[in-house]
């Protein structure tokens, strides 16, 4: 299969920092007293993708699409059923590829400093009984990067970097607003100088004005520190703002993967088209024919035959019912899992600027 990671060692491979191949997570469905396995929820099903250094890859999809499970597997919070997660621990161009899925115990612990996660809820993700300074120094000590005065110095610099004042550092999380807490969470994930940060709905719980502060901060930090983000989100407007490339997931599978601009301008998969069409825009009087998808996402424990999207797809044919379309390169750098990706003329968000005159 000519997936998006087919040439890891090619010229393009040099910029890559993360490569995910065939990553799969099946959760068992058990029944009865003996917890007999009667089926599987295919939360993430054979996903291939890569992230370049200094790049943001967004993963979008509805609830149940597996995007959070995917993100958690990348940071090794969930054990994958199979597949590989290759991380280049010495930066782009280096040769130290580590397969995170093979690491156990101390080895894994020694690698953890290279990747980190920012969580959605800034209220429950910080320990209320720890001071800000301790929250941020903890990863340094845990990962044996630094301790004592040195750790505090690094933590102080990191907290300043995210816009926290020195006088805040001895306080407890409850003294801060949601936006400031999220800054503390970001400082905590940055403090070990990781290569990769997985942001799981990192701005979804914030008010719009605060959301803008955090999005701008993430962009600034990326430029200054050459960070890579895996940005898991359901808000497409935010994704368009922050991401370089987008992977669209549907029922555990990546159905489209391209540059953000391309995805928004002319999607290749009917599901992407429907998602874009459903996205409300902050412009009144916008004339458009909205595609309102019927029904709900397929059940990942009992997916439909063929293309998982066919029951909701207005372009589906008999072929789609019978055969599962693989994710394939439709035009250079653009991947889609649809039999008719070449022939369908799908609508994107183009013309968003002209609409105002209408």
């Amino acid at each position: 299969m000519s997936g998006p990671t087919s040439e890891p060692d090619g010229a393009a491979g040099d910029r890559r920092i993360l490569e995910v191949q065939g990553l799969t997570k099946y959760f068992d469905i058990t029944k009865g007293l003996l917890r007999r396995v009667v089926g599987h929820v295919r939360a993430v099903d054979d996903v291939d993708l890569y992230v370049n250094a200094g790049e943001t890859l967004a993963i979008v999809g509805e609830s149940g699409s597996g995007k959070t499970t995917l993100g958690r597997m990348i940071v090794r919070a969930i054990e994958p059923t199979r597949g590989q997660i290759q991380l280049r621990t010495n930066g782009a161009g280096g040769s130290d590829w580590t397969d995170l899925t093979r690491l156990r115990g101390d080895e894994l612990r020694a690698t953890r400093r290279h990747f980190h996660m920012i969580f959605q809820d800034p209220y429950s993700s910080l320990d209320p009984r720890m001071r800000v300074m301790d929250i941020v120094t903890e990863p340094l000590i845990y990962n044996k990067v630094a301790d004592g005065a040195e750790a505090r110095q690094i933590a102080r610099e990191t907290l300043r970097l995210v816009g926290m004042a020195d006088r805040h550092m001895q306080r407890y999380p409850h003294a801060f607003s949601g936006g400031q807490r999220q800054r503390i969470g970001i400082a905590r994930s940055l403090v070990c100088n990781p290569k990769l940060i997985v942001c799981d709905e990192a701005v979804s719980a914030l008010d719009v004005s605060i959301q803008a502060q955090i999005l701008n901060l993430l962009k600034d930090l990326q430029e200054r520190l050459h960070l890579s983000y895996v940005f898991i989100a359901h808000d497409l407007a935010v994704v368009e703002y922050i991401a370089h490339r987008v992977a669209v997931m549907y029922v555990g599978k990546v159905v489209e993967l391209s540059e953000t601009r391309e995805v928004f301008r002319r999607p290749l998969h009917p599901y992407t088209e429907a998602l874009l069409s459903a996205m409300p825009a902050p412009e009144p009087n916008r004339q458009r024919a909205r595609i309102v998808l019927k029904g709900e996402p397929a059940n990942p424990a009992d997916p439909p035959s063929g293309c998982y999207f066919h029951p909701r797809c207005s372009y589906a044919t008999d072929h789609c019912v019978r055969e599962t379309p693989p994710l394939r390169e439709v035009t250079p750098g653009r991947y889609a899992a649809c039999h008719y990706a070449e022939t369908l003329e799908l609508k994107g968000m183009s013309g968003a600027a002209e609409r105002q005159t209408a």
Binding site: S177, D207, V208, H234, A237, F264, M279, L293
Partner: protein, 350 residues
């Protein structure tokens, strides 16, 4: 779609809120969650109330139905409602336990909440909960109630409604639960629906379904809808008129079209600049410095003064500006546009 305000039409507005104040009397001081709100809702009109957390929008909505509990208290104001039978009453003048009040809730004004899972009881079936509402407000026979509710579930787009009737809330998906919530809200054919963040917890494709459904029902059932949300995009797409709330007060109100084309209050402008506009390739979002302050014993000044890029020292921090009509139907509370000050009353300096 209706144009702008029509405060003095031949028929009174369906709902008119005048000078509503809801305060919370806390140990730390008086939290002025809603501090003087006026708004009108016309027939079949869709109103948007935008605000960030802490703006008082949800407390305002609860005040309309008298659902504020201690230490909160509605201290002042009128909520003039034209009822289904044409009678006009002030909801706030009714006694707390009055029969009439109970008949207004659900029957004249219904509410759709953000979290349907916590709005439904987990131990009763969806059908039983909606039927209870219907039985309370109508005199249908038991068998007819079931037929009526099943039909209602079908109308809000729940597939297989006969079976869903006997299911429990946890057996339904988020979108289905929100539909059931809407079915419950509509069960007594209210003329006003208060929807507090009705789609915030839902996925975009489901959100599109729900908003579409609300639009259809609004026309077929002759309803007015009040959307309370922080989502500017939803407001832009669904409402006729908008009220922007900040710290318990309306800072700007006009038609949705005018608001997005020509926002006048610095807060509204900043708010519109702080969201990504799809298809426009913004390079940098605007940022409102700081965060919404807590309105405990607020000083007599413009609430936005601390975060405002155009704040005028010696002016904005002297008194609360009044909400003034700058152009027909476009109200702004800002000294950049008018020097008028908010008149004081017995609650201003307590």
């Amino acid at each position: 779609m209706t144009d702008g305000d029509q405060p003095s039409g031949p028929k009174p507005n369906r709902l008119e809120v005048q000078g509503l104040k809801t305060y919370f009397f806390l140990d730390e001081g008086i939290l002025k969650a809603v501090d003087g709100i006026d708004l009108t809702v016309g027939d079949q009109e869709t109103i948007g109330i935008i605000g960030e957390s802490g703006s008082g929008k949800s407390v305002m909505a609860r005040s309309l139905l008298r659902l504020v509990t201690r230490p909160g208290e509605i201290v002042k104001g009128n909520v003039i409602l034209r009822r289904k039978d044409g009678g006009v009453i002030d909801v706030l003048a009714l006694a707390p336990g009055a029969d009439q009040l109970r008949r207004i809730r659900g029957n004249d004004i219904a509410m759709v909440f953000q979290e349907p899972i916590s709005a439904f009881s987990p131990v009763h079936t969806i059908g039983a909960q909606i039927s209870e509402m219907v039985a309370l407000h109508t005199d249908l026979k038991k068998h007819d109630v079931r037929t009526y509710v099943v039909d209602l579930l079908r109308r809000v787009g729940i597939s297989n409604p006969g079976q869903r009737f006997d299911e429990y809330p946890h057996q339904l998906s988020g979108g289905m639960r929100q539909r059931a919530m809407i079915a419950m809200a509509l069960s007594c054919r209210p003329k006003i629906v208060l929807a507090d963040e009705p789609t915030t917890a839902l996925d975009v494709t489901i959100q599109a379904q729900i908003l579409e459904l609300m639009k259809e029902l609004q026309q077929s059932e002759d309803m007015s809808v009040i959307y309370i949300t922080h989502d500017l995009a939803v407001v832009a797409e669904t409402t006729d008129r908008v009220y922007v709330m900040y710290l318990g007060r309306v800072v700007e109100s006009t038609t949705t079209e005018r608001l997005f084309a020509n926002p006048l209050h610095p807060y509204t402008r900043k708010l519109l600049g702080s969201i990504p506009h799809p298809g426009r390739h913004t390079h940098r979002l605007e940022v409102i410095e700081g965060s919404v302050p807590t309105p405990i014993d607020p000083p007599a000044q413009c609430a936005f003064v601390g975060r405002c890029p155009s704040a005028m020292p010696g002016v904005c921090d002297q008194a609360v500006p009044a909400l003034t009509e700058i152009e027909p139907g476009h109200f702004v509370r800002c000294y950049l546009h008018s020097e008028e000050r908010e008149p004081e009353d017995e609650w201003t300096n307590i």
